[in-house]
């Protein structure tokens, strides 16, 4: 017992002050990508050719250069390949969105997630219970969702908790590209959640299929099976990116409505 207490004192308080204070991220962290199509050379496709997940479409006569953060794995190959620095990486971890099309980043930055509507916010804003389902995920998204439960992020202080049964949950948090072999289990889990229920798709796989997009063994993301209320991009998303998205959804971080 003495040893436990002594260690407790030695370990101290480790919870971060987020969202009051900005997170400390490593200098090589690749955050939200930014695009400046005006710099693109006519006909240049260097970025698209190196992209492993077809996440970037270069400027043509009709459209600006656009990055789909829902497909992007943040490998930064496009940034290395671009001769004109038309694509750059910010160190901004915030990129969760409510609508799939909001993840398309052109010359304008992306539209961050707004809070749930008034009725749902009243119901879930102060107590959100989630059931996590991994449907083909590689365990990286799962691990960085799990880390929110550690003393560092202490998700419980925001009233958000992961629960053991869909019957106890207000919604699902889905990772992975949704394999055919998990299709039925995911549907059943969703149906077991009482209404009203929400769905959060975490990671490139759950949004678009990610590295597995187009494989006949997968369904290219959660939207193939269930409606999605929040998309959190990344491969895997940084824990701060996931936390930011969750807090915006429940209205703990304000996103000005446009």
């Amino acid at each position: 017992m003495i040893r436990v207490l002594r260690t407790r004192l030695g370990q101290g308080r480790r919870t971060v002050a987020y969202p009051a204070e900005a997170p400390a991220l490593p200098d090589r962290f690749v955050g939200r990508l930014a695009v400046d199509s005006a710099r693109c050379l006519p006909g240049c496709r260097d970025c698209a050719e190196v992209c492993p997940t077809d996440a970037i479409s270069p400027r043509s006569e009709e459209i600006q250069t656009r990055v789909d953060l829902g497909r992007c794995v943040f490998c930064a190959e496009c940034i290395r390949a671009c001769p004109e620095a038309a694509v750059t990486a910010t160190r901004d971890h915030r990129m969760a969105a409510r609508r799939r099309e909001d993840l398309l980043v052109g010359d304008e930055s992306l539209r961050l997630a707004e809070a749930l509507d008034a009725r749902l916010k009243k119901l879930l804003g102060r107590s959100l219970k989630l059931r996590q389902v991994s449907a083909g995920g590689c365990n990286a998204c799962e691990a960085d969702v799990n880390v929110l439960n550690t003393v560092v992020f202490d998700l419980g202080r925001f009233g958000i908790q992961f629960v053991a049964s869909p019957r106890h949950a207000d919604g699902l948090l889905i990772t992975g590209p949704v394999t055919h072999n998990m299709d039925l289990a995911l549907r059943k889990t969703y149906e077991a959640v009482p209404e009203p229920r929400i769905v959060i798709a975490v990671g490139a796989c759950a949004i678009s299929g990610g590295p597995y997009e187009g494989h006949p063994e997968v369904l290219n993301g959660a939207t193939a099976v269930v409606p999605v209320d929040l998309y959190v991009p990344g491969c895997p998303p940084h824990p701060y990116t996931i936390l930011d998205g969750l807090l915006r959804l429940i209205g703990r971080i304000d996103t000005p409505r446009r």
Partner: protein, 523 residues
Amino acid sequence: MSQTIPTITPNGGVLPLDEIPRLPVQDFREFLIRRVRSGGRVVALFAAPYAVPNRIRDHAWGAAPHENDQARLFAVLADGKPPTLLVASSVVGGEYSSITPECPQVHMFEREIAEQFGITPLGHPWLKPVRFQPPCPGREGLSRHESGGKALPAASSFFSVEGEEVHEVAVGPVHAGIIEPGHFRFQCHGETVFHLEIALGFQHRGVERAVIGGPNNRTPLLMETLAGDTTIGHATAYAQAIEALCGCTPSPRARMIRAIALELERIANHVGDLGALANDIGFLPPAAYFGRLRGDFLNLTAALCGNRFGRGLVRPGGVRFDLEPDRVSSMLGAFRLAMEDVHQVGPLLWKSHLVTDRFNGTGVVSREQAVELGLVGLAARACGLERDVRREFASGFYADAQAPCHTWPTGDVFARAHVRWLEIEQSAQFIENHLQRLSDGATPVPLGALAPSSCAISLVEGWRGEICHVAITDTQSRLSRYKIVDPSFHNWTGLALALRGQQISDFPLCNKSFNLSYCGHDL
């Protein structure tokens, strides 16, 4: 047995396909059985498409088979003392006599061959699909026959025990925690587990099939996401295989950075597992501290390459990020602080009666069982077996660094926890020793073309154990077969055996003590 001697290859070696002996199937079978009986171990056993010679056509998974097409079985064995890698092959038709009854450690491999290529190992005692995946096109795999075409692992037939007081418990695929899906079917008598059958495949996303015809832009991503917590391990195994086929050697500096990242990955996972084990016995202080510390080690990997799991660090030819002197000193500072905390928290576990009571004697796998099943890595070392790629088949930077191999004889949860602790210390020492003494060398080196019609074998000791990648190229230097063996593929059966005679309530603790990969198994 014929006079043909199977070919010997080093780890990271490449062999022309023609030089790998094609034994008659009976000799191939005898070769495996005899070698394993005399102390050998099956590293990999798999099938690849094989077109009849003299027909000019590419033969790969995905190409429609010709009626005369056959399959070629490849076996990679670790044999002898010190061990060497032996490779042999055999061309087979639709069936052959199963090797499993006389050599149990190939039981999953033979099921996989039957599932992927529709080749029946006659007399296999438990022939059912491994992942419920679509078979190689044009071939009829096993999955189709199970569960009436609806390939759902949990709906297949299970080994069952009958009797008045025997009952069955089914768990999964969706579990209570934030973990991956798998189905566990227990045959119980009261609280006691008679038998556990583990049905996986829920995570199958077609990686082996998708890399055929490559490599391309996406291949490294598929390798890094084989098992997200083993990003560095699998990416290094892949890089080593491609480098072997290209005949290129990365710089000593790149090999060193890979080794440092691999050891960081090992520490992060081992520390996290010790926390999770504490959590499973309801001992929350170390669970909280180790849970946090795991993140500190992931953040060190992020300091190196920007990503907490090491995505984008390892690529064929070298590494994409260098370590400047400033970065080395800031990483070393953070590393030492984290290790101080590990040393402060460790005694909480090792000096607690609660831990002794719950860990000792729980989930025992005997040394004999471990040998018979061909367990690898941590799980094997916890049964007293000195199995470690870093020592047995040292490649990359490890070829220059003598690594000790920590074992513990008891084969229980305690042994698997304690070996983790010893390895944390060992890896910490490795990082301390090498982070400040980085070799020179440009990173990365340019890659040449892949050798055509060749086979490269690459082993890496990931934090769970031996990762094996075998890359085979066609006449056009494209990948025609890429076999991946995650350590979990060998070790899941070890978990099933550890549960025999245990209380069913000890399952979470036993499961966590192995902490095997679902996605690494399911591919």
